[in-house]
């Protein structure tokens, strides 16, 4: 009789039952809808992405996806266009950080003390970061037109009569795009720094003034270190978005001239959705994700250290 399958299902141990009963499920029920949605639109795609990256996959034609292991990742190492776009993105990001942070801090310092119209200027400062990037990118294309553009005219007014060709020059195209990106996002850095400046304690500055510290010394030894946490927050946000830059590049140059402004995200888009190399594109996307993740975690570490 021992071999018979027990008629009753195995009993859940009393302690577990009590835990299930006593546990307050309210928050879990409140979270459930969001969790289901998150799993559907974020969790599932990321798992599927990993699966795709291990396959040779295309949508046109009837060939079934073929498992290739890490073949796509191995192929990346020999893909010159990928490596170029990766290096270009790092260059873009470095230029972006190097311009956004000092300029943003500068604007924040200009707005530190109250003056006539400060609130109004702060309100204006919000505009570049909320305006539709695609639309503003196109407005910039018109402004940067090498023959008819307002930028050429304004530079001519200050004596620069032969400006570069901006978006048409392979050496200038990335700095020009960085400039447009900086126009959109430096105000955000400025507003973050501005919030930091408003929260600075007053006493150290009074003490320093009494002790005869110069304005530069107060900035260098008080403002800057006290503001560092906010600057790092701004740097982190900018870092994430600079590494992922695509919208303005897509509409302003399409990656051209040649591939001179092709960032990794744009290359990723082209490979996966224009050239129909889905599996390979998935591998690129994972590398980009890993890059953003590593850079951000690195910066968080730095923030903890300071």
């Amino acid at each position: 009789m021992v071999a018979l399958v027990p008629q009753q299902p195995a009993r859940v141990p009393a302690t577990v039952r009590r835990w299930l009963w006593r546990r307050d499920w309210t928050p879990d029920l409140l979270l459930a809808p969001a969790l289901v949605a998150t799993a559907a639109v974020m969790g599932f795609p990321l798992v599927f992405l990993v699966y795709m990256s291990l396959h040779k996959w295309s949508l046109i034609g009837y060939a079934a996806p073929a498992f290739v292991g890490f073949g796509n990742f191995a192929a990346l190492l020999g893909d010159d266009r990928f490596i170029q776009s990766l290096l270009r993105t790092l260059y873009f990001t470095a230029l972006g950080l190097a311009t956004n942070l000092p300029a943003g801090l500068g604007i924040a310092l200009l707005l530190q003390r109250d003056f006539f119209g400060r609130g109004f200027l702060r309100a204006l400062l919000v505009f570049p970061m909320v305006a539709t990037p695609v639309a503003m990118g196109l407005v910039w294309v018109i402004m940067l037109d090498p023959s008819l553009g307002i930028i050429r005219y304004l530079l001519g007014c200050v004596g620069i009569s032969h400006p570069p060709l901006w978006l048409s020059d392979t050496n200038w195209v990335v700095p020009t795009l960085v400039l447009v990106d900086a126009w959109m996002w430096t105000p955000m850095v400025a507003l973050i720094c501005s919030a930091g400046l408003a929260a600075l304690p007053g006493e150290p500055f009074e003490a320093a003034t009494v002790d005869g510290a110069s304005a530069w010394q107060r900035f260098r030894y008080l403002t800057l270190p006290l503001l560092m946490p906010m600057l790092l927050v701004a740097a982190m946000l900018r870092l994430m978005d600079l590494l992922k830059v695509i919208d303005i590049v897509y509409v302003m140059t399409g990656g051209g001239p040649g591939h001179a402004s092709e960032t990794i995200n744009l290359y990723n888009y082209l490979v996966a959705l224009s050239y129909d190399k889905i599996g390979y594109g998935a591998a690129v996307a994972l590398v980009l994700f890993a890059l953003v993740l590593a850079a951000t975690l690195g910066l968080i570490r730095l923030r903890r250290a300071t």
Partner: protein
């Protein structure tokens, strides 16, 4: 203040005015351009004063498709905002009051992941499900950013509500959902409005997802505006008019929620 200090202060004020007004040049140029005739557009040096024309706007709206794109953008943005808030508010409530922060990690990952990492699999899945070109696919894909935004923003607003109010209500027999609906939601009305506006703007501005997941009928404005750049000609005036129509409502909305914008952009990122 000493004379030198007063001078420095005035100098800073003037510099601030100059720098920030200079940053507004693209908006000025866009709006001016939208009223220019083709001839004014092609004159160099550029003209600041000219006889304005409404032809560009007439051209944009004469194209039957354009109002449709405005409608598409509105439907998608409103849908993504509404669903994001409906799912996000209860989740934020649970996270604020019961400290359930596990989901936060997932939402933070969403802020870091490139859109393309979600887009490629979503596109393939939508092809299988015959959802490419549907509002459903667009709204679902925009949840990737509206939901985290709603959760992060609302956690902050809900934490500012004194918990004693809910406790008192519950002692009087109110359920948790009742407390959420009758106390937390009314008290965070302003926060909800600000969150809704920010989510709406984010969705309205989104380009990449719409580029891939929409079709000719469901195209949203950022995708449609590319149509003014042909292979050999750019319709300058119409482009500027279309850009103005897309951008100006966003700027107006942004003014209403000015003081929350940076928080919206930051809050998702500082919880490291």
């Amino acid at each position: 203040m000493t004379r030198a200090a007063r001078l420095r202060h005035a100098g800073r004020a003037v510099a601030a005015w100059l720098v920030i007004l200079a940053l507004m040049l693209p908006f000025l140029w866009m709006v001016l351009g939208s009223f220019k005739t083709a001839r004014d557009f092609l004159s160099y040096p550029p003209v600041w004063l000219f006889r304005p024309t409404l032809d560009n706007y007439a051209q944009v709206f004469a194209d039957n498709a354009f109002p449709r794109y405005v409608l598409n953008s509105t439907i998608v943005a409103a849908g993504a905002t509404a669903v994001g808030l409906l799912l996000g508010i209860p989740a934020a409530y649970a996270m604020a009051r019961w400290r359930r922060t596990a989901i936060g990690i997932v939402l933070l990952a969403a802020r870091m992941a490139p859109g393309i990492a979600f887009l490629i699999p979503l596109f393939v899945a939508c092809l299988e499900l015959h959802l490419v070109g549907s509002y459903t696919s667009l709204i679902a894909s925009h949840l990737i950013f509206t939901l985290p935004l709603a959760v992060w923003m609302m956690i902050g607003f809900i934490e500012a509500v004194p918990v004693e109010l809910e406790q008192a209500a519950m002692i009087d027999g109110c359920s948790v959902v009742g407390a959420l609906l009758r106390i937390v939601v009314p008290l965070t009305r302003q926060g909800i409005a600000a969150t809704a506006i920010l989510a709406f703007i984010a969705s309205w501005n989104n380009f990449l997802f719409a580029l891939v997941l929409s079709n000719d009928q469901t195209k949203t404005l950022p995708v449609a505006v590319l149509g003014y750049i042909g292979y050999n000609s750019i319709q300058w005036g119409a482009l500027m008019a279309a850009a103005s129509v897309i951008t100006l409502p966003v700027l107006a909305l942004a003014l209403c929620v000015q003081r929350y914008i940076v928080r919206g952009l930051v809050s998702g990122a500082v919880t490291g």
